[in-house]
Structures are given as structure tokens and as C-alpha cells.
């Protein structure tokens, strides 16, 4: 076994200990450097989409210039404008720089009275009702050959994305000994309805006017989510990632009624199959901590975007491992010394006993998600200071 693989296995163990709330040798340092990496090197994400050599240059630069143990999100751009041009629509729009964002008005193509159809058969509902509305390629007046050839083109584009992902993983693991901690991604069922079918205004109305339908649809969509990760084998130090979007906007009563049942069922089933689960709690969740305490113990990683991590540790430290430490705003606006002070304090308060990994509070996507000198300062600091004695 070569030294790079030894290093990767050492880091895998760090992550395995962290996830299972055991004290590792030191605090793992997790990279969520996404498309920020292109700006760091003077490029834009579109340059990486168009040119494999630029992607590789950016990937090597991020992993050479900053210290990491773990890769969670890398710089490869997963969504490309050409995919949606071929499909003739979609829920995203793209900036000139190659970043994607939600396309206003493009999500809510499901009518509120269609919950029974969604519940009866989500797959047929998507194929028969949603996709013809969302994608010109699937419209009723498009002929068979055009659809088939369009899907072939989509496969070709997806193949290029997959090749870049594989290349990134090879570089990260075999050249830098980094452990890749994410094995798959699913949406919580009710977030699927929010993000792909009803949009925010629609689902908030549905929750008030027909909560039982939203709840039941969520329960049916648990299997849809499980189908997505069926082929993934559980591995130590790896997790299935669940980004969470809606709960920050829900009061506890509505959360318990419509979101929690399917979310809890999904997580329980993933854990029963041997997986760890990483929940990205986007925005604030302190109003729901009592529920989160019921999640399976020592199989969950919580990444909290806006919550006070000290309060998280107090309320949830016995249930889940906690990842974070510095916000992208702090990384962008503070001095290196201030950033180091922030990291020192968070390690002092969260690291004792284990169950803490360092990262930014969310993915570094745009140029303003951090200054390079700050990122360098904090990763080097945590590497030295985060050793358990």
C-alpha cells in the first residue's frame, strides 16, 4: 500500500470516528470548496464546464494550496446549461459565469388538486403530467425519434459530467490522499415537493389547506428517495447527504404534521440499511431541536448554516456529530487573525470528546464566499490546534 492510500485510510478513520461520536486523533478538516475554486484561480465556473484541463488545474490548486482531510463538495460543476437546452426547460437558469439558480416560476407545475395522482404513483405522475409541462422534449406534440435522440444527447452530456467527477475523485484520493465522504444525495420527501412540484408559495398553502395530502405524498415519496440510493453500499466514514430546505420556514406544529413523518422514516430506513446520514440544516433549526433529538444516535452528521453551534452541541451533541466552525461571511469579511480567533473558540467549545469536524457553514460557491488568505489561515490553524492530546 502506498503512502497516499495510507493517508486516505487514516482520514477515513478520522471521519468514521467523528460520525460515530468517538474522539478521533484530531478534528477533521472538511472541504466544501465548490465553484469558489474557479474564482480563486482567476477563472469562472463556465471555464471548467468547457475545459477539462481548467477543471483539473483548479482541483489541484485547491488541494495543494489549502490543507484538507476530507472532500465533501468539489469544484466540478454538476449542472450544465446544455442539459436544460436539450430538455427544453427545467427548474434552473444559469448565469453567464456558469452558476445555476432557481428559475422563478418554473417549479410550480403541479396543481394543488393533483396530490391524489402523485400519491397513487409518483413515477407515472412525473412522466405523464409534470415532465410534459416542464420540458419541451417530453411534450405531447414531440415525436418519438426526437425524444429518443434528445435523451441520447443528454446521456452524452451527463457522461462528460461523470468523467469530470471521476477525474476529480481520482486526483483527490490518489494524488492528495483525501477521503471523499459523500456516497449519495437525496432530498427529504416534502422538500422534493417544494423544490420540484409546488414551489414555496404553493406548498405553504397546501400545508394549511390540505396538510394530510402533503403528509401522505411525503410518505409515498420515501420509497422514491430510497430507490435513488438503492445501489449505494454503506462504507465507514461516508454519508448520504440530505439538503434540507423547508423546515426553517415551518412552525413546529406544521413540521410535526407534514414534514417529520416522511423525513424520519427516510432516515430510519437509511440507517437500518447501514448508512450514515449527513443533514444540511439550511438556515435556522433551533425551533425544531426537540424533534431532531429523536434521530438515530451517532449515525447523523448535522451541518448547521445559521444556528449557534454551542446551542446545537448542548441540545443535540448526544444525538449527532456536528460540522461547521466558520461562516462564509466571516471568511470573507474578517481578518485572518479574527478568523483564527473564531476557530480557536469553536474548537475549545465543540471539539472536546469528539463529534466535531471543521468546515464552513455552507458550500463555497461564489467569489464572495471567502478570501483565500483567510481560508489558508484557518485550515492551517485547525490542522495544528485541532489535535486531541
Amino acid at each position: 500500500m502506498n503512502k497516499v492510500e495510507e493517508l486516505r485510510l487514516e482520514r477515513q478513520k478520522l471521519m468514521d470516528d467523528f460520525i460515530n461520536n468517538r474522539q478521533p486523533q484530531r478534528v477533521p478538516i472538511v472541504s466544501v470548496c465548490s465553484t469558489w475554486a474557479y474564482y480563486y484561480k482567476g477563472y469562472k465556473p463556465i471555464d471548467g464546464i468547457k475545459n477539462d484541463a481548467v477543471m483539473e488545474e483548479v482541483v489541484r490548486a485547491i488541494y495543494t494550496d489549502f490543507y484538507w482531510d476530507i472532500v465533501e463538495i468539489g469544484p466540478v460543476v454538476a449542472y450544465r446549461p446544455e442539459l436544460f437546452e436539450i430538455l427544453g426547460g427545467g427548474t434552473f437558469t444559469f448565469t453567464e459565469e456558469g452558476l445555476h439558480q432557481t428559475n422563478p416560476g418554473a417549479i410550480a407545475v403541479m396543481e394543488p388538486e393533483e396530490y391524489p395522482e402523485l400519491i397513487a404513483d409518483p413515477y407515472e405522475f412525473l412522466l405523464h403530467k409534470i415532465y410534459p409541462r416542464r420540458f419541451k422534449l417530453f411534450a405531447h406534440d414531440v415525436d418519438f425519434e426526437t425524444k429518443f435522440n434528445g435523451i441520447k444527447e443528454i446521456f452524452a452530456v451527463r457522461g462528460k459530467i461523470a468523467e469530470q467527477m471521476q477525474r476529480h475523485n481520482e486526483i483527490a484520493e490518489k494524488e492528495f490522499g483525501l477521503h471523499n465522504t459523500i456516497s449519495g444525495l437525496v432530498l427529504a420527501p416534502v422538500d422534493f415537493i417544494l423544490d420540484y412540484l409546488r414551489d414555496f408559495r404553493g406548498i405553504m398553502r397546501d400545508i394549511k389547506r390540505q396538510p394530510e395530502a402533503v403528509r401522505e405524498a411525503g410518505m409515498v415519496l420515501v420509497q422514491y428517495a430510497l430507490d435513488e440510493v438503492e445501489k449505494i453500499k454503506p462504507e465507514p466514514g461516508k454519508s448520504i447527504l440530505i439538503p434540507m430546505h423547508l423546515p426553517t420556514f415551518l412552525n413546529p406544529k406544521d413540521f410535526e404534521k407534514v414534514y417529520w413523518p416522511s423525513y424520519k422514516k427516510l432516515i430510519d430506513e437509511l440507517v437500518a440499511r447501514g448508512h450514515n446520514v449527513k443533514c444540511a440544516f439550511e438556515r435556522k433549526y433551533d425551533h425544531l431541536f426537540d424533534y431532531l433529538q429523536e434521530l438515530p444516535k451517532n449515525r447523523i452528521v448535522g451541518v448547521f448554516e445559521d444556528d449557534d453551534l454551542r446551542l446545537v452541541k448542548k441540545k443535540l451533541g448526544n444525538t449527532m456529530a456536528i460540522q461547521g466552525g466558520i461562516t462564509t461571511q466571516e471568511l470573507n469579511f474578517c481578518t485572518p487573525e479574527q478568523c483564527i480567533d473564531i476557530c480557536k473558540a469553536i474548537i475549545d467549545d465543540l471539539a472536546p470528546g469528539g463529534g466535531f469536524a471543521f468546515s464552513t457553514n455552507k458550500a463555497m460557491i461564489s467569489a464572495s464566499d471567502g478570501r483565500a488568505e483567510n481560508l489558508k489561515a484557518v485550515t492551517e490553524f485547525v490542522r495544528e490546534y485541532g489535535v486531541y492530546k
Binding site: 412522466l127 405523464h128 435523451i151 430507490d227
Partner: protein
């Protein structure tokens, strides 16, 4: 009014993709591949 032919058309297209591009052979494999395709567009 949605065209019922569209339902069969979309499903038939995905079944052809499942067989000719994804290599599915048995009815069970074809159905699994079709579901994978449906999920891939969401």
C-alpha cells in the same frame, strides 16, 4: 387536455432508452431503468 398517447409515447421512449442505451434486458431490469431515468430528470 393531456394526450393519452403522450403517456405511452414517453414511457415507450424511456423503455427503448433502457434497453438500447442502458442495457436492460428483463422486464424487471427495464422497469428499474425507466424509474432511474424518471428520477434523473427531477
Amino acid at each position: 387536455m393531456e394526450d393519452k398517447n403522450n403517456t405511452h409515447n414517453n414511457r415507450q421512449v424511456l423503455e427503448k432508452v433502457a434497453r438500447e442505451i442502458m442495457g436492460a434486458k428483463t422486464p424487471q431490469e427495464v422497469e428499474k431503468a425507466v424509474k432511474e431515468l424518471i428520477r434523473s430528470f427531477s
